[in-house]
């Protein structure tokens, strides 16, 4: 029996190949008959769907509650303004001006609690949507898609991960960076794959991701993409830090061209399928060991 596992595919630097790895791993596990769900957590720029043809099963709007002021009840006491920790309520006492700036609101509800005059009600504000696509009979892709112009993708990401339910294997294609959206994604993971490239920028961002994962006590390993471009510093670093090197993917114009068209390397060059299968088995083994 396979134990359930959630794997996040992440990177500090953008464009290192997170989606490339996620989609090929998803495809490989699909071919093996695994009960697998891919969650595209890069809600600002979701792309994974381009690699599969899926039928939209359901779509959920993700909203947050933002305050609406009833000026006929408002006494301009300013308590809501004082309670708001995000400076989202603009208040001028003497001019009797009070205004909610929806784009700064985090939907915490503090202003509603603050108001003693029943002048604040709440309305739903759309942040984005979570779409579930059936890719094969057994597998689905869940996409977090933030509405353009919204400030933070975090709520949409959280909702998408929740939607991933009970699949045996959950793959999470993470947003780049190491700030909030990244943390929210990897916090849910049992194992993290960091995808990097052997350049000074790639290495610098990899180090930052590693430092973050250490504080979160998450097991992780590294995939080096475009392995023949750049230099060897990243290998020296992995060796020194005792970080498992999970896979090397060379830079190759054919691979780049397959990816550019929204197609899967593992489909075009089936020998890669066994590489990704080994990658998964290796991760299960490493995760099992880190758990004991």
């Amino acid at each position: 029996m396979i134990k359930k596992i959630k794997i996040a595919i992440a990177s500090g630097k953008g464009g290192t190949g997170k989606t490339f790895v996620s989609t090929n791993l998803f495809y490989t596990l699909q071919q093996e008959g695994t009960d697998v769900t891919l969650v595209d957590c890069d809600a600002e720029e979701p792309n994974a769907l381009a690699f599969f043809s899926g039928e939209l099963e359901n779509s959920t709007q993700i909203t947050q509650l933002v305050p609406v002021m009833d000026e006929s009840k408002c006494t301009f006491c300013g308590k809501c303004h004082e309670y708001c920790n995000y400076n989202a309520i603009f208040f001028l006492n003497e001019a009797k001006i009070i205004k909610v700036m929806d784009e700064l609101c985090h939907g915490c509800g503090a202003c509603s609690v603050a108001c003693e005059f029943g002048a604040i009600s709440e309305k739903e504000d759309v942040l984005g949507e979570v779409n579930r696509y059936a890719v094969t009979e057994k597998t689905s892709l869940i996409e977090a898609r933030m509405k353009v112009g919204v400030y933070s993708p975090v709520s949409v990401i959280k909702a998408a991960i929740k939607e991933a339910d009970n699949a045996e294997v959950i793959l999470m294609d993470s947003p780049p960076g190491t700030s909030c959206p990244f943390i929210q994604t990897v916090a849910q993971a049992d194992y993290v794959i960091l995808v990097t490239e052997p350049t000074p920028f790639g290495l610098s961002d990899l180090k930052q991701s590693v430092e973050t994962l250490k504080t979160m006590h998450k097991p992780y390993g590294v995939i080096i993409n475009r392995a023949n471009l750049g230099n060897d510093d990243v290998y020296v670093y992995l060796n020194k830090e005792n970080i498992p090197l999970l896979l090397n993917i060379p830079f190759d114009k054919t691979i780049a061209s397959i990816y550019s068209k929204g197609e899967l390397l593992c489909k075009h060059q089936p020998h890669w399928q066994s590489q990704f299968k080994n990658l998964f088995n290796n991760i299960k083994y490493l995760y099992g060991n880190s758990n004991n």
């Binding site: 953008g14 464009g15 600002e44 995000y86 993708p153 000074p200």
Partner: protein, 293 residues
């Protein structure tokens, strides 16, 4: 003049192109606003002249000497950050959004707010002028505010040192830090690549720049990796009256330049790609390319 370079999709070559632009004309202010993964300091090794702390937000912390486990805070938290574990109230560091509501309503004043102050902004000089960059500490948020701080500093440096041009290297994505990066700039350059993802992400980035009515240019980097998609990008831009101001081929020189801690303009000034970058810059800024070295 402020020129912001963004991309939507990560890894299209934003920073390499920013670095090239920053080393073209003589003296500039370079603002690295990819505060989540600031990288240009690696190439330019700026002097360390000033360091400022950035408070990105707050987190709620329980004082267990005062907490009576009454549970009032449990129901008020909308971020699912507070839970009961073995009969004890626990606040998740990761889920806490810092709204302070729990701290305000706690009848025993048992919840304190602690500043998140590990993020920093650095200022210094580099070979082509002044440089300012922010580094957001892992897991911290409000990157948009840090971007604003970096940009304000850059504007001040531009004034103090009479450096006319500010080059801003932006973050990937289209969230708050990207929006803060482009608000009110004179030119936005979107660097894309001929992949399905690159095209999709460029469209979303263009939505943002057109919402803000900003003068926008597109550069297709590594255009030769898929010429069909390059055509698609070009015709999409043409329909919307956006000028594609450069199409650069994939060239190992760009990676080799980075490995040598140089911009491609410095590393291979006579190369074809360096020439193309000069021409694009000249088209954007209306500075005669003969005057750009």
């Amino acid at each position: 003049m402020e020129i912001a370079i963004i991309s939507g999709k990560g890894g299209t070559g934003k920073s390499s192109i920013s670095a090239a632009f920053a080393t073209l004309s003589q003296q500039v202010v370079l603002a690295d606003c990819d505060v989540d993964a600031a990288n240009l300091y690696i190439l330019f090794n700026p002097t360390h002249e000033e360091e400022q702390i950035f408070v990105s937000g707050q987190k709620a912390v329980i004082d267990y000497n005062k907490c009576r486990n009454c549970g009032s805070c449990l129901d008020t938290c909308r971020f699912e950050a507070i839970s009961l574990s073995d009969g004890e109230i626990v606040i998740s560091d990761i889920l806490c959004d810092g709204c302070k509501l729990c701290s305000r309503i706690c009848p025993f004043e048992a919840i304190n707010m602690v500043n998140e102050d590990k993020s920093k902004m650095y200022t210094g000089s580099f070979r082509n002028g002044k440089m300012v960059y922010g580094r957001l500490s892992p897991g911290e948020e409000n990157s948009g505010k840090l971007v604003n701080m970096v940009r304000n500093k850059a504007k001040q440096l531009s004034k103090d040192h009479q450096l006319e041009t500010i080059i801003i290297d932006g973050p990937p994505g289209i969230g708050c830090s990207a929006i803060s990066t482009i608000t009110g700039v004179d030119h936005v350059v979107i660097v894309t690549e001929p992949t399905i993802s690159g095209l999709h992400d460029m469209k979303r980035a263009l939505e943002i720049t057109s919402n803000f009515k900003l003068k926008t240019w597109v550069i297709v980097n590594k255009f030769d990796l898929n010429t069909d998609l390059t055509h698609q990008i070009e015709s999409y831009c043409q329909q919307r009256n956006i000028s594609v101001v450069g199409k650069f081929p994939f060239d190992r020189l760009v990676v080799d330049a980075m490995v040598n801690c140089k911009s491609v303009i410095e590393f291979a000034p006579d190369s074809e790609v360096a020439k193309m970058i000069r021409e694009s810059y000249s088209a954007i800024t209306h500075i005669d390319s003969k005057q750009i070295h």
